[in-house]
Structure formats: C-alpha cells, structure tokens
C-alpha cells in the first residue's frame, strides 16, 4: 500500500519537475512588455487593471506591474529595473528627476488623504480644525497610530504632517509597520488605532474593516497628487522608452483621464481618483 502511495508521490514530483523544464521559455517574457513600478494604492484599488487592460489591447503589449510603494518604486526605477513609475510623493520625485534618473514627469491624477480611526474616536479628531490639529490630538491622547514606515508617498506625507505639528511621534502609541497601505489599514483596524490613508485604498477596503474616515476636510495639507515618470533611457538604454512614452501619453490623454474619472463610480458611488484635467473638485 505504502509502496503504491510512494510511487504516486514520486511521480507527481517528477511530473512537476519536468513541467518546469518542458514549458517553453518563450513564455517567460512576453514579446512586448512594459514594466511599471507603482504604489500599493493604485494596485489595491484595481484602478490599474482598468487602465492597463485598455492600454495592452491598443498597443499589443503586456504591462508587468510591481506594486511597491512610492519609495521602493522610485528606487526600482533608479536601478533600471522598471521602465516607468507612477508614484505620489512630489518631493521625492523631484529629487529623483534632479538626479537625472527620470524624465518626462507628468501629472496624472489626485485625491486626498484621509485620517481613519475607530468609530469611538478617542482622540476626538472629528472636531479637529486642521490636519495638524488632528495629529496633535492623536499624540496628546496617546492612542495607537499606525505608521506605514516604508518610505512610501503616504509615509512621506505623514512625516511631513508630524513635522508641521512640531511633535516627534514616539512612544508605545506610535507603531511603524513597514508595510503597504492595505496591511497598515488592517493593522490599524485590529489595534483600533488611527492611520493616514489615501482615499482610494480606504474605499477599496472599507467593507473588510470597521475603521471610518474621521478627518478629511483639510484640502491643502491632505492633497495627494500622482505623477508618472519615465526611467531615463540615457542612464539605462535597455528600458522600453518608446512604449513608456505611449503609456504616459495614454494616461494623460482624454481616454485615460476619462477612465480615471469614471473608476469607482459603480462600485463605491464616487471616483477614487480625480483626473489631472479635472480642475473642479469632485471629491
């Protein structure tokens, strides 16, 4: 009995080993690919599925998406491991452009950050006058605040906000997880703490958590713009610059902008991102 079982198991293993060898290598890298390194917010919301599906169809190309967070996405581009990046930390982006790592930076879309937390709102941020006031209230109340801690666009924004409050967040209440937006929201939900999130990811995860948006009215401080940039082909001649230009053009064209405008209407009853060409505020 054991013998037969053993033979079956061995056969399965051998089959799996050979399936690795037999599969044609041509399938390894699709003929035309565009490697996009981007933030977790554009991935977790599925916006990219909509945008990329149309682009792939029109240009006969496969978009390979790396969902990394802005800091890592920019670093990946700077090492030449991506063709194009779509990120949301203007200060880091401009520094990277300054270093000559990226060219053709274009404004694609924006939304606003929100401060989310438990419904009971122990720090009373609902009544905060500004985003910095909200952060000060959280620090004063010493209630858990979950920080991305991953050098992402949202993390950069959060640090900027703490900087404005002149508070150095430290102590047991301030917890850095070093993970993406989805993970951070889940952690905050479990710990019944506060966190800063982009509106899109929050809406996409709303059904899976109990946290609610407690503060969002400070448009100036919570503004969250996304830009697309091409990895500089002079630095990395092997990047697919031609396709990158098409992609940038597509995202900023009325076709791409309309897709962004409409995305989320059906599922969430509101747009998750506002296209760059829309100057009046929809959110």
């Amino acid at each position: 009995m054991n013998k037969i079982l053993l033979k079956i198991l061995l056969l399965m293993l051998i089959a799996s080993l050979f399936s690795g060898c037999i599969q044609p290598d041509a399938k390894d890298t699709p003929a035309g690919t565009l490697s996009l390194s981007t933030t977790t917010s554009t991935c977790d919301t599925d916006l990219l599925d909509v945008l990329n599906a149309r682009f792939e169809e029109e240009n006969n190309v496969k978009v390979l998406t790396l969902c990394q967070g802005t800091g890592k996405a920019i670093a990946t581009g700077e090492m030449g491991a991506a063709d194009v990046v779509l990120v949301h930390a203007p200060s880091s982006e401009l520094e990277a452009v300054e270093r000559g790592s990226f060219i053709d930076r274009q404004f694609v879309m924006y939304n606003y950050f929100v401060i989310i937390g438990p419904v009971s709102d122990p720090a009373n941020v609902t009544h905060a006058a500004s985003a910095t006031d909200a952060f000060t209230r959280i620090a004063d109340a010493q209630v858990p605040f979950i920080s991305r801690g991953d050098n992402s666009g949202t993390h950069t924004k959060e640090l900027g906000l703490w900087n404005e409050t002149n508070i150095t967040p430290q102590g047991a209440w301030y917890q850095s997880v070093g993970k993406g937006m989805g993970d951070t929201i889940i952690t905050a939900d479990i710990k019944q703490g506060y966190t800063l999130s982009d509106r899109g990811t929050y809406l996409a995860m709303k059904d899976k958590i109990e946290l609610e948006v407690l503060f969002e009215k400070d448009k100036e401080f919570l503004y969250n713009p996304y830009h697309v940039m091409a990895v500089n082909p002079e630095k990395f001649p092997d990047v697919n610059y031609e396709m990158t230009l098409k992609y940038i053009e597509y995202l900023t064209s009325s076709e791409g902008q309309d897709l962004i405008q409409d995305y989320g209407m059906e599922e969430y009853g509101q747009a998750l991102f506002i296209p760059a060409n829309n100057t009046d505020e929809a959110v």
Binding site: L5, F18, A81
Partner: protein, 250 residues
C-alpha cells in the same frame, strides 16, 4: 462579523475557489511548481555529482567547501534574495542579463538556497554506504563509473530524500522570490478574484499580498494548496526514510 464566522466563511470560499479551478489560483500554483521544480532539478544536477565527488575524492579546499555547504544550508532566504537582486538589477554587475523580476531570477535564487541542502543530505547518504561495497565493486574489476553506479544505487533512498527536502524548502520559501520576482501578476479584470494570471507570483508571495489586501479567502485557498504540496513531500520523505532504514538493517 464574529471571528469564527469570518474564518469559516474564508475556508468555504477557499474550497469553492479550489474546486472551481479558479484560473488565478491555478496559475499561481503553476508558477510555484515550475520555479521550485526547475530550481530543484538543476540544483540536483549540481548537488548529487558534487556530493559523490566530495565523498570519493581528496582535493584542495575540500574542508572549506564542506564548511561552505554547511553554512549554505542555513542561509536566510531574504539574504539570498537581496544578493541575487543586487547582482541582477540593471544597475548591478549582471544587469545586462535582463533577468530581474522574471521567473528565471527566482529559479537562480532558489537554486542557491537548495543546492547546499541537497548536497549535504545526499553526501550523508553516500557516506553511509559501507566501504566494503565500494571495495568489492573495485575488486570485481569495476571501473570508477561502475563503482559510482553501485554506490548511487545503494544510496538511492537518501538521494531521493535529499531532492525532496530541497523541493520542500524551495516551495515553502518566500523571502528570496518576493525580492527577485516582484510578485507580478498580469493585468486582471476588475472585481475578479485576485489579479490576472501569475507571471512571478507564487503560492507563498501571493499569500502575503492577498493577506495585505484583505482577501483572506484567496489567501486561505493558496495556503491549502501550499500545505497539501508540502505535506505530500514530507510524507514521501518519511516513507523513504523508513524504507532506507529497513534496507540498512536487512
């Protein structure tokens, strides 16, 4: 939602996904088997002859090589991932190969992780073959090759065990392939399960990203497949060990 409810619901959905042969989940399992299977296969091609040579020949640096293999057995996979990443990234020394974020990069990382394991275990098996058997084979007029065949035959259970152990390590590994593979799936449809089909997304890396995005039932489905593969491999290993021991005492 109570906690028990959410877990039970997650498991039910997971089983439905597996039973329904969900293409996203199948493609991920396929990439896992393909990457770990190929890495184990190539590693075996290196490790088994290497362990035979180590067992049968004296050469300069042999002790150092053994130390290296023993150290290699416990290499943290994230370290291997980091090492392969900085080698393969276009800005790195082997960037011209254009392998970063491809299944091949993942195979390279797992090859590095698995080769020492297979070498070490098969070396132990070969060393356990009584010297008398080897000497008999020579005295009967066997060539080096004939003797090698006799020894390998004697050590076959241990060698197969070493390959299975290597495969078990590879399929369960997450740190290295996440860094060098990038957990990429093709563009998917909105509202569907997970993303499009997997390109460099494996059972382990997908479990991390599906848990991150709160898709627990998809993560559970992937976990069930992973644990099934793992248990099968481990069951095979323990059965082989049983048979090896029987033979040893016979």
């Amino acid at each position: 939602m109570s906690s028990a409810e959410f877990i039970i619901q997650g498991i039910i959905t997971a089983i439905e996904l597996i039973a329904g042969m969900d293409p996203y989940i199948l493609s991920i399992a396929g990439v896992s088997l393909k990457v770990s299977g190929t890495a184990t296969f190539i590693a075996s091609l290196t490790a088994i002859p290497l362990s035979f040579i180590i067992s049968h020949r004296e050469f300069w640096g042999k002790q150092k090589l053994l130390t290296l293999i023993n150290t290699g057995m416990g290499l943290p996979s994230v370290f291997v991932g980091l090492f392969v990443f900085i080698m393969l990234v276009p800005a790195g020394p082997l960037g011209f190969l254009k392998l970063i974020f491809t299944p091949k990069a993942m195979i390279i990382a797992q090859y590095i992780l698995v080769t020492p394991i297979i070498t070490s275990i098969s070396l132990a098996a070969i060393n356990a073959v009584p010297i008398a058997i080897r000497e008999n084979a020579y005295s009967l007029g066997g060539s080096h090759r004939d003797v090698a065949v006799v020894v390998l035959k004697e050590a076959k259970f241990g060698i197969v065990t070493s390959v299975l152990a290597g495969f078990g390590r590879a399929i369960a590994e997450v740190g290295a392939i996440l860094i060098v593979g990038g957990n990429i799936a093709y563009t998917g449809s909105v509202g569907g399960i997970g993303e499009g089909l997997s390109y460099t997304r494996t059972l382990t890396t997908a479990i991390t990203s599906e848990t991150s995005s709160g898709d627990i039932s998809v993560a559970i489905a992937l976990g069930l497949i992973l644990i099934t593969i793992n248990l099968s491999v481990n069951a095979a290993v323990s059965m082989l060990q049983g048979r090896g021991e029987e033979r040893g005492t016979a």
